[in-house]
């Protein structure tokens, strides 16, 4: 017998209590979504900028190599989407559009269609996510309700920059992924 069949048979041979799945109530969460989301992003060590502030920053030439999938900031981009993410190993900045944000924890949902390549938000040195402030939801419950049965090969919640506290619990921003996360609410 295959391991698959022997594992399943072993489980089925046990007399296990059948308990029903609970209904998940819609916990409403806080009312002020923008305030909640902003507090959470800052708490996660992300930054918040207005579109103008970001433009000023981009004009300063701080980022030599920029990729953008967001048309509003397309004029600052000088990199096209490659076929192999390894070509982005020296990318300084990626600007992506998020689908929606979650006020209780600052998490932002992106899928394959928003990413271009799945490696981009990780391999880039710095990351900007542009988000409609109308898109904010209150809690993770509403977040999954909004995602629903949507089928993407990959989706992720990004809530801040790459970070670690593995050395004596000292917080360090910039472990392996993006060293900073800027969120622009429009």
């Amino acid at each position: 017998m295959s391991s698959r069949d022997s594992i399943l048979r072993k489980i089925r041979s046990l007399k296990l209590d059948q308990k029903p799945l609970p209904e998940i109530p819609d916990f409403k969460g806080g009312d002020n979504l923008i305030e909640g989301f902003s507090t959470a992003i800052l708490g996660n060590k992300g930054e918040l900028l207005t579109a103008d502030e970001l433009s000023t920053k981009l004009e300063s030439g701080l980022y030599p190599s920029v990729y953008s999938s967001v048309p509003e900031f397309g004029k600052f981009a000088n990199q096209a989407l490659p076929t192999d993410p390894h070509s982005f190993s020296k990318l300084d900045l990626a600007i992506l559009k998020g689908q929606f944000g979650v006020a209780e924890n600052g998490a932002i949902w992106l899928e394959d269609s928003d990413l271009g390549l799945r490696a981009i938000p990780f391999i880039t040195e710095h990351l900007v996510i542009v988000l409609d402030q109308e898109s904010l939801v209150s809690t993770m419950y509403q977040a999954y309700d909004r995602i629903g049965g949507q089928h993407s090969g990959f989706g992720l919640f990004i809530a801040g920059p790459s970070k670690t506290a593995d050395i004596e619990q000292s917080l360090v921003i910039g472990a392996h992924g993006a060293k900073s996360l800027v969120v622009v609410l429009i």
Binding site: S3, R4, S6, I7, L8, K10, I11, L14, L16, D17, Q18, K19, P20, L21, P22, I24, P25, F27, A40, N44, H86, S89, E104, N105, G106, A107, L117, R118, A119, F122, I123, T139, M140, Y141, Y144, D145, I147, H151, G153, F154, G155, L156, F157, A159, P161, S162, K163, T164, A165, D166, I167, E168, Q169, S170, V172, G174, A175, H176, G177, A178
Partner: protein, 452 residues
């Protein structure tokens, strides 16, 4: 060696063990603040526990459903009855891909299966990419905590290690500097790896997707650059529906480190064009634990580590004292199921204070199970010293004369016995403890003088 002997090793450096104790308590405190900020926290714990009840009662059906959906999405599903089979499956994939070096993100399951030494014996270089795991891997140690693998080390030790392995400046202990050195070192490994291994936090039966959570982004960095992703998952990690992630992701990071959520929460449903995803569903003792009615609930664990951070024994004895892949209170109820002989001292490494049960996000009755394991172990080991003293006590309490005299004898003995009665190697509990101050008279004598 038993847990008390191992703990004694850890306590040889009192300053460091005090730091360990305080630091983990600080994390427990952050967890408290974060959980109190969610009004429905207790309801979420109850929901999570009830969802897991349903999962454990229907595990075979959910596993089949998960397999069906994952396969439909283009994921290759493998099944492993034990650690050996799991390791062989990983190796066979690596051979097929002609891969000699892999990157691996945090996975307690691969630790449990001892995957690293197995692959290294087969000439494959394994690079653990979580910073804490890379540190302990350099030292040839296992992680001492499931969420904070290097919590037993001080920055001075890490600085010295990195100076030797990564040629950082001697004596530079700045955590930012050391982290950046690891970032550059691991970036090269990420760019070169053809196969990446990750663990799994949740597998969703309804969609066939699985979720991996990190703060460093190392899991994603590995798998999105590699051509092949191998995910290793214990069969108990299944949850029925996507919407249930809305319960578990609200609990996991808040319980683990006192964060709202981990910074990266990736949902893998099908491979990127031209790439492969494999998932290995591993039993390795889980079906046996499912069959133990008293201990079944331990399989609800989502590996947040909150029970370790709160445990007065774990904080003061360190993760290595448990000699078990999962240390702390949850490890002490999981490990005896895997090897009762080897782990027989673990259920006794507890004050039974119940703090572990109070913080558990899926409401596992950890301290009750510790107590139940003690009974199993005592049954397996025969009459204990404790039982003998209970028998003696029974005789004394039956006779008023014996009771009166034994009190007198005890008060005299406590005053006059040499210190060596407690400070000797036979009495582990005597360490750092003293005998109580002795009252001059018994309560009965006091009552007769003052109230009669």
């Amino acid at each position: 060696m038993s847990h008390p002997q191992e703990a004694a090793e850890f306590l040889k450096d009192p300053a460091k063990s005090k730091w360990h104790d305080d630091t983990l308590w600080f994390i427990r405190d952050k967890r408290d603040k974060m959980s109190h900020s969610v009004p429905e926290w207790e309801e979420l714990r109850e929901l999570a526990s009830t969802i897991k009840d349903n999962v454990l009662g229907n595990l075979a059906d959910y596993l089949e459903k998960f397999e069906r959906n994952a396969t439909k999405n283009g994921i290759k599903v493998h099944w492993a009855a034990n650690a050996q089979e799991h390791n062989e499956i990983v190796l066979s994939i690596l051979k097929e891909k002609e891969c000699k070096a892999i990157v691996k993100s945090k996975s307690i399951l691969t630790e449990e299966c001892h995957l690293n030494p197995f692959l290294e014996k087969n000439d494959i270089e394994v690079v653990d990419t979580d910073l804490g795991e890379r540190i302990v891997q350099f030292l040839g140690q296992p992680p001492s905590h499931i969420v904070l693998p290097a919590i037993h080390l001080k920055k001075g030790e890490i600085s010295e290690l990195f100076h030797e392995k990564l040629h950082t400046e001697k004596g530079n202990e700045d955590p930012y500097y050391l982290t950046q050195a690891a970032r550059h070192h691991l970036r090269e490994k990420f760019l070169a790896a053809k196969v990446a291994i990750t663990g799994v936090n949740f597998g969703v039966a309804e969609t066939g997707e699985f979720v991996v959570c990190t703060n460093e982004g190392n899991a994603d960095m590995g798998v999105h650059l590699a051509d092949t992703h191998i995910a290793c998952m214990g069969i108990e990690k299944i949850i029925p529906k996507r919407t249930h992630l809305g319960v578990f992701l609200r609990l996991l990071a808040r319980s683990a480190t006192g964060q709202n959520i981990t910074n990266y929460n990736s949902h893998f449903r099908s491979p990127e064009a031209g790439k492969e995803i494999h998932i290995i569903l591993v039993d390795n003792g889980r079906t046996a634990q499912l069959g133990r009615e008293n201990f079944r609930n331990s399989l609800k664990c989502i590996r947040c580590g909150a029970c370790m951070n709160t445990c007065p024994i774990y904080r003061r004895s360190g993760g290595f004292s448990y000699k078990s892949t999962v240390p702390g209170p949850i490890g002490s109820i999981l490990s005896p199921g895997l090897n009762l002989q080897k782990h027989s001292s673990l259920p006794f490494a507890s004050t039974l204070c119940g703090s572990c049960t109070d913080v558990c996000p899926v409401k596992i009755n950890i301290h009750e199970q510790l107590y139940l394991w003690r009974q199993e172990i005592t049954k397996a080991q025969g009459t204990s010293v404790k039982e003998l003293s209970m028998m003696l006590g029974n005789g004394i309490f039956k006779s008023p004369l014996a009771y009166n005299y034994s009190g007198k004898i005890m008060r005299m003995a406590l005053k006059n016995l040499p210190k060596s009665m407690i400070y000797n190697p036979l009495n582990i509990w005597g360490k750092q403890r003293d005998l109580p101050a002795v009252p001059k008279e018994s309560f009965k004598e006091w009552y007769q003088k003052n109230r009669s």
